[in-house]
Amino acid sequence: MADDIEIINRVLNGDVEAFRPIVERYQKPVISMIGNLLGDRHACEDVAQDVFFSAYRKLSSFDPARSSFSTWLFTIARNKSINAMKKKKPEPAARLPESESTEAAAERTELKELFAKLDDALERIGGKYRRALVMAEFEEMPYEQIAQIEGVRVGTVKSRINRAKQKLRKALSKLEGDMK
């Protein structure tokens, strides 16, 4: 966005507060991407904070001729997520609220269990396949942008997404079999 470039120039000229609209604009997509990559909604805001802080410190190294600001920012988010994954601790299982009716609670439990199994299957998929799937399916990024972030060709992104989907399809068909 040309707007981003204008804001960046103001920040680089010393207007620190000018960085705020950048954070407001990108906080949700960055937190969403990190949360889905890590599978941990609690830790993602800490990592996201780190992403924006790093982006601020390295702002002078951003080159608009090489990529858009969003691609550059998501690349930082991707790298920070990879580092955070290495230090990740298992997330405790969420509890259901007790005030729900028995039927609604049972349905939610079933859905929660299904989602937990899919989350497990996603976690078992290798890092680069999982990242490609998360960015394409959950964050709805175009393939060209994912290719720039991952530093690979578009064809490679597509094949990684297909591979990830195949693995998930296997997990889903096993789930279907378990439910019958």
Binding site: V16, E17, F19, R20, V23, E24, Q27, K28, I31, S32, G35, N36, R41, E45, A48, Q49, F52, F53, Y56, R57, L111, L114, F115, L118, V134, E137, F138, L168, R169, L172, S173, L175, E176, M179
Partner: protein
């Protein structure tokens, strides 16, 4: 529940992100804290040049020095060329 529906519902649940209140403020506090902790430069070039240009005599002196440096460079280039 069919597999496709499970997958789509699961996918939709991944977009359900709530950013905590004050996230932006926390980031900006960190950024401002970083700026305040940066050491002041020993010599502020901009401020130095402003002071130099504000006095007529120093301005004139700078212009004369620049002109002499230019002439000296031309003379050196000419001497190098003729020496060859």
């Amino acid at each position: 529940m069919k597999a496709d529906r499970i997958y789509e519902t699961w996918k939709e649940s991944k977009k359900d992100i709530v950013v905590s209140k004050g996230f932006c403020d926390r980031v900006m506090r960190k950024v401002c804290g970083y700026e305040q902790s940066k050491p002041a430069p020993l010599l502020d070039i901009g401020e130095f040049l402003d002071k130099m240009y504000s006095h007529r005599l120093t301005r004139a002196g700078l212009i004369v020095a620049a002109a002499l440096a230019g002439l000296a460079r031309m003379a050196f280039a000419l001497w190098t060329f003729l020496a060859v």
